[in-house]
Amino acid sequence: MEARILDELRAIVDGRGLISSPEELHTYECDGLTNFRVMPHAVLLPSSTEQVQKIVRVCHRERIPFVARGSGTGLSGGALPVENGIVISLARMNRILEVDFPNARAVVEPGVINLDVTARIQYNEFFYAPDPSSQSICSIGGNVAENSGGAHCLKYGFTTTHVLGLEVVLPDGSLVHFGGKTLDTLGYDLAGVFVGSEGTLGIATKIILRIVKRPECVRTLLAAFPSTNEAGAAVSGIIAAGMLPAAIEMMDNLAIQAAEAAVHANYPNCGGLLLVELDGPIAEVETLMTDVNEICRSNGASEIRVAKSDAERALVWKGRKAAFAAMGRISPNYIVQDGVIPRTALPKVMSEIERLSQEAGLRVANVFHAGDGNLHPLVLYDRRVPGQEEAAEILSSNILELCIAAGGSITGEHGVGEDKKKMMSKMFAEPDLMTMQRVRSAFDPLQLSNPTKIFPTPRLCGEKPGEYTPHPLESAGLAERF
């Protein structure tokens, strides 16, 4: 990058907000998906909306592509820098600007950590509902980009349900506002389009969130089944009985073993474990819990436990949330997959995964958000064994094809990013993708904002799905993710 441009950028962020030395830039060359790496020319750390605007205006004038970055915990390469581009980190814009309890709104900057929103409002019995498992390290801005989910989105919805308004710096540097504190603001639902656009439509600099009153009670039940098929049948039973639990999670035996080894959650050793959480008024929850218990029993549950205390409940969740990182206990390397199927296709897809797994001679551990059909198969392998890494990548990719064939999706919450853009044309037809591109052109005619993501380009050499590497905080047991 030309020195004059670098100088101009440095002046905008007051010197301290620019990183350009190769040693320091290494931190930013990838996100949570570490097999894709691109070195940015520079990293800018603005501390205000005005600074973001000024940086983006320079990029626009000089035609420099830019990638916005939150905490860098994404699992699809969404925050991967682009060639000859810069990274704009929003980490310093981390203030909770306003909490408005009467209207159940909070206004935050993009660098605010997800869990910090709840931490700020819980004294008044409120919480921020979207709970991606990286919530103790991931940022709200990143959640907006990815439309992050979490275990409780079954009942509460995704990030997009909880983002009512946005202040956005468009790729030409202009500042616009989408949505607002009131509902049904006039015009197109641009906030709805922006959330989940993976940084390709601009940079959010302020976010209006909906916050939620804590329910009167929360009850968590653990049920052990002979296999995931019986556990799946119990989930169908719960849905057919007209219940909408706060969360329904499922783990297979391999995932249980790993979680046990990692955090000693005291899970029963079984073929399929179900975790059902109900919340709401006590009388309502207790009535429904009796029903859930009965449904699990009639579907073959050998053991059913209800967490007796908050501590027990926390332990149950800890085991589930630690599942990805726990794989390190039972396998040297592994790939985290994220696919979605109609929930009823579960037995069929599971047996197909089993077949693929046997054919490849590789183990697959399964962790699901069972209520909404979001699968996280973990493909285990050993890089030291020649050919295993390639076999694992093929297996992981084939699992996604199963999801598409079952009428599902290639991603439920991790995003397309760099990792899955080649799968997009298997899920969408050309006119579908062209229409999305036309919408993108309205926001970013010069294609400067995270330009190489989401949409398929001809397959490049060395493009491959990637191994999972736990975030340092995750390995230290300070954070987990789904």
């Binding site: 607002g180 008024p281 009535t287 059909g373 999706s409 290639i410 439920g412 229409t435």
Partner: protein, 430 residues
């Protein structure tokens, strides 16, 4: 229009009409009657394609011929928005009315745009499910129309709006493209969320031909309660007490009108034991006014604002305010209406969305609507005029769309560059 242009346009219409008849058959292309006028603008013909490919082709041909197209479902809300700047063709979705798939065990439904909401709900109810939405005139309103107008009722407090319920959409664009986005599963972040872009776009970007929704179970039991409040302060205290409690109510609305005290309604859904406990809890919250069990009919209050409408002396509007300011909005309305000698009647929902009927002189209505819009916009809200007497001095149906308007126009330009769809009906002249 001078005589030469008029004759040119007539020739264009008749040759175009011939083209459509040869494509769709004579039964599905008709001359428009006076009753088909759109907010006072008379279109020339009505076309009813039989499937989405035909619909996309008719749209493409119209676009190519430079004709303005007005998409139409059940026509229940066709008068909302500004009058079209041009209207040549009504494109009816009446024949696209199939429920393609009710995957009840997956809690989803795929449905064509022309299906009425009621028929869809009846089908879903066979498996104890529903689209958790209570729109206006469900027996006539179609899926496509309700989506385009983004209509929602009191259930929104618990289940969200259509933007939160739609998971997939297929759109026909003016260039003939049929584009799908989203999918058939509830959790899906692949690609842009165009179902949300189409929702509330008033048919100005493309014509919705199909949608996929996430469903909810029908409630086991429901109970409704009403409280008559004597003063504005009492109304405020009651609403705040309910909203700040741990009650899990599904809906809350305040009904208010000239010459009567406001009533607040609360809806609960759940099991018998759960409902009994919530009833006790609700009764404990009220210090003065008594809580009485109410008929489910009270939830028709919004729709009944349109009953026995006197079109020449009535205005209807939707307004939005902050959720904690609905009582204040009721006072603002009363004050403005009283000053102009207007009668008023309204419903304000706990989400901060309200519906208002004003009656009186045309000029007074105009002044009051403008004044209310200014006041609500000052507090980040809005006022959307849904009906006004023909004699009332004209007023923009929408109001201020904010600083994103140029971007909205850019989106419109990308998808409908010739301004074929519903020209001039949406915000900021879109």
């Amino acid at each position: 229009m001078d005589a030469a242009t008029q004759s040119q346009s007539t020739t264009l219409h008749s040759s175009f009409r011939y083209k459509l008849i040869s494509f769709l058959g004579p039964d599905h292309v008709h001359a428009a009657a006076p009753a088909d006028a759109v907010a006072g603008v008379q279109p020339k013909m009505i076309v009813a394609p039989g499937n989405e490919r035909e619909l996309a082709e008719v749209l493409r041909l119209s676009n190519e011929a430079g004709l303005a197209v007005i998409p139409r479902g059940g026509a229940t809300k066709l008068a909302w928005g500004n009058p079209p700047s041009r209207a040549d063709l009504i494109l009816s979705t009446a024949r696209l009315n199939e429920i393609t798939e009710h995957a009840w065990a997956d809690l989803t439904v795929s449905v064509e745009a022309g299906c009425t909401v009621q028929r869809m709900q009846e089908t879903l109810a066979q498996h104890g499910q529903r689209l958790a939405l209570d729109p206006l005139w469900p027996e006539k309103a179609t899926v496509g129309g309700v989506l385009s107008a983004n209509d929602s009722g009191a259930l929104r407090l618990r289940f969200g709006a259509l933007r939160d319920l739609i998971i997939g959409v297929t759109l026909a664009l003016p260039d003939g493209t049929l584009a799908s986005s989203g999918g058939k599963v509830v959790k899906n972040v692949a690609g842009y969320d165009l179902p949300k872009l189409a929702t509330g776009a008033f048919g100005t970007l493309g014509i919705i031909t199909r949608a996929v929704f996430r469903l909810h179970p029908l409630p086991r039991l429901t109970r409704s309660f009403s409280v008559a409040t004597a003063t504005a302060e009492e109304t405020r205290r009651f609403i705040h007490a309910v909203q700040n409690s741990k009650l899990a109510h599904t809906s809350l609305q305040a009904r208010f009108e000239s010459g009567a005290a406001a009533e607040v309604d609360v809806l609960f859904e759940g099991t018998e034991a759960g409902l009994r406990a919530q009833e006790t809890h609700l009764k404990d919250l009220t210090e003065t006014a008594g809580v009485s069990e109410a008929s489910p009919e009270i939830w028709n209050a919004r729709q009944s604002l349109w009953s026995s409408l006197k079109p020449e002396s009535t205005a209807l509007a939707k307004f939005t305010v902050l959720p904690a300011e609905i009582e204040k909005s009721m006072e603002t309305i009363a004050k403005s209406a009283r000053a102009r000698h207007l009668e008023w009647k309204g419903v304000a929902q706990a989400t901060g969305i309200g519906w208002l009927r004003l009656e009186g002189g045309a000029k007074d209505l105009r002044v009051s609507l403008q004044e209310l819009r200014e006041q609500f916009e000052r507090g980040t809200g809005s006022l959307l005029v849904l009906h006004r007497p023909a004699a009332m001095p004209s007023i923009d149906a929408w109001g201020d769309a904010g600083d994103a308007l140029p971007l909205m126009k850019a989106v419109k330009q990308q998808l409908d560059p010739k301004n074929t769809l519903n020209p001039g009906r949406f915000v900021g002249g879109i």
